[in-house]
Symmetry: C2
Subunit: 403 residues, 2 copies
């Protein structure tokens, strides 16, 4: 008989802490309303958090603002310097990292260019080491100050086991990358798919803070997706992310780099557009990936080249189809389109949205909002830091470390 023991519950103390971090500055009453717990419980929880050095009463904030009658609320905030984490994003053509404090503040940033070639595990670990060391240096912190490193990379990543089944960055398959990095850095490490990082970034620092359920779709070299259900990142029934990019949008369709045919990715990702550009416009892919080709393509489309325009147009239509399928399957109230490729207006045009609406049932029209977010290159690393932050909090509150 399979056991069904409870796992998901979170202590009130942790809930209070996360509420404070989410809001920045909140009074106890507001927390009480927010998480639905009595005021008394909030008082005792905050008391413990304060003695544990995780939270502080930030006296005399915008006191004059309130102008209310009764006793003014005393606002609470997390003590930023109680813990630090590092978020690392591995990608091409550059890797990046941030040092983040407990409050979500960025203490240092690093972006380093890297080869577009596939690497071995050791080379990846070397790079992580360099990134972490540099980042710590810039933040004037030492390795001992770091409680956790969050690492994200494209590909099939199993967050639970820390294994990378496949990644465009790695030469080998089925690599136990988390263990490798942990061993190298001698720090606790969390590993995840890059789309999940982006989703965490939205959940922690973006639009997702006020949304219970939403989906994040990102287009880069591939197409990724993350889903938030009930304020929590959902990683699929078996722990791997949701592979929107390898969702099939055409029977016997275009060839995907995964070797299969008809994947959404094979119609809308960088390499798909670059492939078409090389066919119709004689553009050649160069060594640094597809960046140059993509820029040329975009330029020509803007200059009125019809072939270039039709390439983007078709990609847009398939993207609309993919988004419509997300709506048909999950029915989120918000879909966030995010990532660097937001620059290609063609992909995120009004036309795509209206195409998508035309492909979702009438009864759902208007219930799903679509937003395009253009973040800097560092969102990914920030998301990785959020991953580390959330693991740190879980760990802090797990075994009564704060009592």
């Amino acid at each position: 008989m399979e056991t069904r023991a409870d796992v998901g519950s979170v202590s009130t103390k942790q809930q209070v802490f996360e509420a404070i971090r989410a809001q920045g500055h909140v009074s106890r009453v507001d927390i009480s309303k927010y998480i639905g717990v009595s005021a008394g419980s909030v008082t005792s929880a905050t008391a413990e958090l304060i003695t544990a050095g995780l939270v502080r009463e930030s006296t005399g904030q915008e006191r004059d603002q309130d102008a209310g009658r009764g006793r003014p609320p005393v606002s609470l905030s997390v003590r930023a310097d109680s813990n630090f984490v590092i978020g690392v994003k591995l990608s091409t053509p550059h890797h990046s990292a941030v040092v983040m404090d407990m409050a979500g503040g960025i203490r240092a940033e690093v972006i380093l260019p890297c080869s577009a070639r596939r690497q071995g595990v050791d080379a990846i670990c070397d790079f992580v080491d360099t990134l972490v060391t540099t980042a710590l240096d810039r933040a004037s912190l030492s390795a001992g100050d770091v409680t956790m490193v969050g690492v994200g990379l494209p590909g099939f990543v199993d967050h639970e086991t820390g294994e990378v089944e496949w990644s465009p960055l790695l030469r080998d398959q089925g690599v136990p990358l988390r263990q490798a990095i942990t061993a190298r850095m001698n720090m606790p490490v969390e590993l995840d798919n890059d789309a999940n990082l982006l989703t965490l970034a939205e959940l922690w620092f973006g639009a997702g803070r006020s949304m219970r359920d939403f989906a994040v779709v990102t287009i880069e070299h591939g197409v990724g997706m993350g889903l938030v259900i009930n304020n929590q990142l959902y990683r699929g029934a078996q722990g791997m992310g949701m592979e929107l990019g390898h969702t099939k949008v055409q029977l016997d369709g275009a060839l995907c780099r995964c070797g299969q045919r008809g994947c959404l990715e094979a119609y809308v990702a960088d390499y798909a557009l670059a492939r078409e550009a090389s066919t119709a416009l004689n553009m050649e892919t160069d060594d640094d990936g597809t960046t140059t080709v993509m820029n040329m393509l975009l330029e020509q489309a803007n200059d009125g080249n019809e072939a270039a325009q039709s390439i983007f147009r078709r990609a847009g239509r398939y993207l609309a189809l993919g988004l419509a399928n997300v709506v048909n399957m999950f029915d989120p109230s918000l879909i966030i389109l995010s990532g660097d490729r937001m620059r290609y207006d063609y992909l995120y045009a009004q036309e795509v949205v209206s195409d998508m609406i035309a492909m979702t049932p009438n009864t759902r029209v208007g219930k799903t909002r679509i937003e395009a977010h253009q973040w800097g290159d560092l969102v990914w690393a920030k998301g990785a830091a959020a991953l580390a932050l959330s693991a740190t909090t879980d760990r802090l509150f797990a075994a009564g470390h704060t009592e």
Copy 2:
């Protein structure tokens, strides 16, 4: 500021009750292991359940079987006759209903033929009335014995609000059907999409009892899907089911009865096959829906007619694509293909499974099992009863009715 109050928690007592119902006969120790609660707590919970009349000690079961040392376990079972519910499935070409006791036992069944035409709300209510009355009569029970009626029908149904946005059975759109039936029958009513009913049936009485996560795909007049996450039916972020049938599998593809193009349904559902049959084989759709045509088509395919075979073959390939997309999005460990159309081997052939495997990433191959279940016509009504049963339990344990 949005509030985030906890909603999902279930009392230990309810957990114990549901464990007993799920297992049929269990000892207290086993429950304790199963739900991960101390033996003491189980003892006190069962004591309350017994005095509330919901559970009984079923002494001297297969006593001889055990042959263990020590004190033999005393097995517990739910008192079947403590409450009764009715499950109603509305469909074409017949409606059906079952009376179910608290233990999940069927006390009576009704199947009544009905018109294939769209009806008004009143006509539907009339039919529900007839079904319920007949069913109660056959079970020798009166309306007062029934604690809840579960009703399921195809279409877009909002379980929360009880509204039917659209259904092939209803003439109008946006019908508050639950309220209508409640008013008519003067009984509490739960309403849901028929695919969700089937999923509940699997969860309660089928393969799902031992599975934490699985998906159910059903092909009938339309294509439906239900998803179980963590032993719970997931109804999508906004409460509507997952519309696999209206997932797009082809840009500008075949016309669907929903008015859009390229829906999976438009390639694999009854009416899609019937449409092709009428084109290639001059089969005409008659008044009682598509049943006759489908049977003729199947017959001809079995007789070696190539046009008929190719119709099924194409449907099978698109079904494989749809299933592959389910795997790519949710990655469940089991997909159950269920419903009446299991008879059409062509749709559920080995070929479909291998096509599907060819469309899912290598890393996932072998992690998703596919099973085809052929239940009788009454599964749907049983699922509706399960819906009612689960609502009844929730209600029983909500406001301390059992203390």
